[in-house]
């Protein structure tokens, strides 16, 4: 237990420079690189004086190093600044959109695991057969499918041709938006309100985008689960279980899968970054009002403070998730000690 605690503290301390570096990279990309947000926003033909005034107002005329410390100081106070285009704080739209992205990401992750892990385990069990080859092929192809294309295909089949599922948004227009003021997680909100009709509507809207994410990302997990299962199935305790006469199904799917799960868990942390990137693309495809769409909308509006704010939130999310996964991993696997 003491080792675990020490590991946890070291790992948490290591997250701080990581977040710091990511914040610096974001700053470098958005402020130091060529391309000046103010002239970009006002257009190339804006008079010099107007541009200078706007720069002054936004504090972009100060030396870059001062700007950098101001930026870090702001972030330390959880302040992301003011939008350049709309009269609002950057944190306002983010608070509103973040739950949508998290909801989509979590369900995407659910489908990823629900598809990827069983398929991978099955393939490992039937290794070097036609079925194994088929599943591996699926894994490789799924990895190469652009997630937005998959989304469009799903829309085409289930929305346009079969007309089973809605293809855009989080709810139908007739659902009252006042239902969703509690948490912003629509599934939870509708349940809390006890409105099952609205719950169904939200679930149906969530299905296609999260299934799309799940299918595309399951490819990695098919391969990963298969590789880990192959390793585990070779170990002595599997042999011992077989020798004791434990049924083959139980050996593979209980003893085997349980032990193959630890590396899968680590991978989940790494995949979370890919999942977020996938969510940005899925959101643009399904008009899902989340962080990804906010990012793209504000890029077109050239609202750089908001763009910066969204990316900063992404950076912090990724660091925190990878921290949590590592801690969970250490708690599950007694071999991890520092």
């Amino acid at each position: 237990m003491k080792g675990l605690l020490r590991y946890a503290i070291t790992r948490i301390l290591l997250t701080i420079p990581m977040i710091f570096i990511l914040l610096t990279v974001v700053f470098l990309v958005l402020r130091v690189m060529p391309g000046d947000p103010v002239s970009a926003m006002l257009g190339a033909h804006a008079p010099e004086r107007v541009i200078e005034e706007k720069k002054e107002e936004l504090g972009l005329n100060k030396p870059i190093i001062i700007q950098y410390f101001e930026y870090l100081g702001q972030l330390a106070r959880f302040d992301l600044g003011e939008s350049m285009v709309l009269k609002q704080k950057v944190t306002d739209p983010i608070k509103e959109k973040l739950p949508a992205t998290i909801e989509l990401t979590l369900w995407g992750m659910f489908f990823t695991l629900a598809i990827g892990v069983p398929l991978g385990a099955y393939a490992a069990n039937k290794r070097r057969t036609g079925r194994d080859f088929g599943i591996r092929l699926y894994g490789n192809v799924a990895y190469c499918i652009p997630v937005y294309w998959m989304g469009l295909m799903m829309q085409l089949v289930f929305g346009v041709w079969l007309k089973w599922l809605p293809i855009a948004g989080r709810t139908s227009p007739r659902i009252m938006s006042s239902l969703f003021s509690n948490t912003g997680f629509y599934l939870i909100d509708t349940l809390l309100a006890g409105n099952l009709r609205a719950f169904g509507d939200v679930a149906v809207h969530l299905l296609l985008p999260s299934l799309t994410l799940g299918i595309v990302l399951s490819g990695v997990f098919v391969r990963l689960t298969r590789a880990n299962m192959l390793d585990v199935l070779k170990s002595d305790f599997i042999l011992a279980a077989r020798a004791r006469g434990v049924s083959e199904k139980l050996v593979v799917y209980k003893h085997g899968l349980k032990n193959a799960f630890i590396p899968i868990l680590t991978m989940l942390g790494l995949q979370f970054a890919i999942l977020l990137a996938g969510a940005v693309l899925t959101e643009t495809t399904f008009s899902w009002p989340g962080m990804g769409r906010l990012l793209m909308e504000r890029i077109y509006l050239r609202d750089y403070p908001t763009v910066q704010g969204v990316i900063v939130v992404f950076a912090i999310m990724v660091s925190v998730i990878s921290l949590l996964v590592d801690l969970l991993y250490a708690a599950v696997d007694p071999r991890v000690k520092y």
Binding site: L22, L30, M33, G35, C144, L152, M153, V280
Partner: protein, 307 residues
């Protein structure tokens, strides 16, 4: 794998000449179909796809019946038929010809981006791993942080700042893959620099730079080749994604991602051909490089196969 073969392909080779390296790669690859079976055929399939796409990119006129920008090839938004095997788009352009010409853009960008990130990432990894010290620790921390961040989102930020254009999109894509090469090469150098022949080189007074170039770098190449191929597949996906969300290229350049984005608005009226075919092309191209890379990985690095 039998013993004699192990002797022919030593894990580390002390002396470096391009010819011997090429011989080694060709030698192990050409012998491979006997040892590897399925992996061999996966690689061959990858090579065939890649070569086909390269042909398409270099000689599009020989395949495409129309020009990619020709706005008078037939009726508007017509479904696939004999003259237009992939149909036509909203501007009466031939979708098949656009797919053929589009291969140029995506291959060009993906290849140059992968090349650029390897040119930056490999030397950094070599130096960082070999010399160690504070610089190594700082570089590693920076690279690890960038590596952990969603690459596409970083590329979006870059592309948004740089504006559209072929060179800008290449830069945006290449930046996010530098850590991949850095981490790979650095990790290998850490092991390689403990090898006896490196110590021997030290003891006869070889300067560090010679040791790096002549003794360590050649042993990294095999892995780099594999990762380069997989990296192109990733870069293809990133390029297509960037141009799909409208951050990639100015209008007028045929591009698969952009064509999907245009086709998206006609999807609700049932126009499936404008998105289906460019998407399939992306999958095929990315799959080709993935298969090539994975086949090479199993063949060039037999230790992976022991799993």
């Amino acid at each position: 794998m039998n013993k004699t073969e192990k002797k022919n392909t030593p894990v580390v080779e002390a002396r470096f000449s391009p010819a011997s390296l090429l011989r080694k790669i060709i030698g192990s690859v050409s012998k491979a179909h006997k040892t590897y079976g399925l992996e061999w055929w996966i690689m061959i399939a990858g090579i065939v796809i890649v070569l086909f796409m390269l042909y398409m990119a270099f000689f599009p006129q020989t395949i495409a019946p129309f020009s990619a920008l020709d706005q008078d090839t037939g009726p508007q938004l017509s479904a696939p038929d004999k003259t237009h095997i992939f149909g036509t788009d909203n501007l009466k352009r031939d979708v098949f010809s656009r797919v053929v010409f589009g291969s140029r853009t995506i291959l060009g960008v993906a290849f140059s981006a992968a090349l650029l990130s390897s040119i930056i990432g490999i030397p950094l990894g070599l130096f960082s791993g070999y010399f160690g010290g504070a610089l190594d620790r700082i570089l590693s921390l920076i690279m690890d942080s960038i590596y952990s961040f969603p690459g596409l989102i970083l590329a979006i930020a870059f592309a948004a700042m740089l504006g559209p254009g072929v060179i800008n999109i290449t830069l945006a894509v290449s930046v996010i893959y530098i850590p991949t090469y850095f981490r790979l090469v650095r990790g290998q150098v850490l092991t390689l620099k403990e090898e006896l022949y490196v110590e021997a080189a030290h003891s006869i007074g070889a300067p560090n730079i010679i040791i790096l170039i002549k003794y360590i770098f050649p042993n990294v190449i095999a892995t780099v080749v594999v990762v380069f191929s997989l990296n192109i597949a990733d870069a293809i996906m990133t390029e297509a994604a960037l141009s799909y969300i409208g951050l990639g290229l100015p209008a007028g350049i045929p591009d698969w991602g952009m064509d999907i984005a245009i086709g998206k608005s006609f999807l609700p009226s049932g126009v499936w051909w404008m998105i289906t075919f460019p998407g399939l092309a992306i999958i095929l191209l990315a799959l080709g490089f993935t298969m090539l890379g994975e086949g090479l990985a199993e063949i060039l690095n037999p230790r992976l196969l022991e799993k």
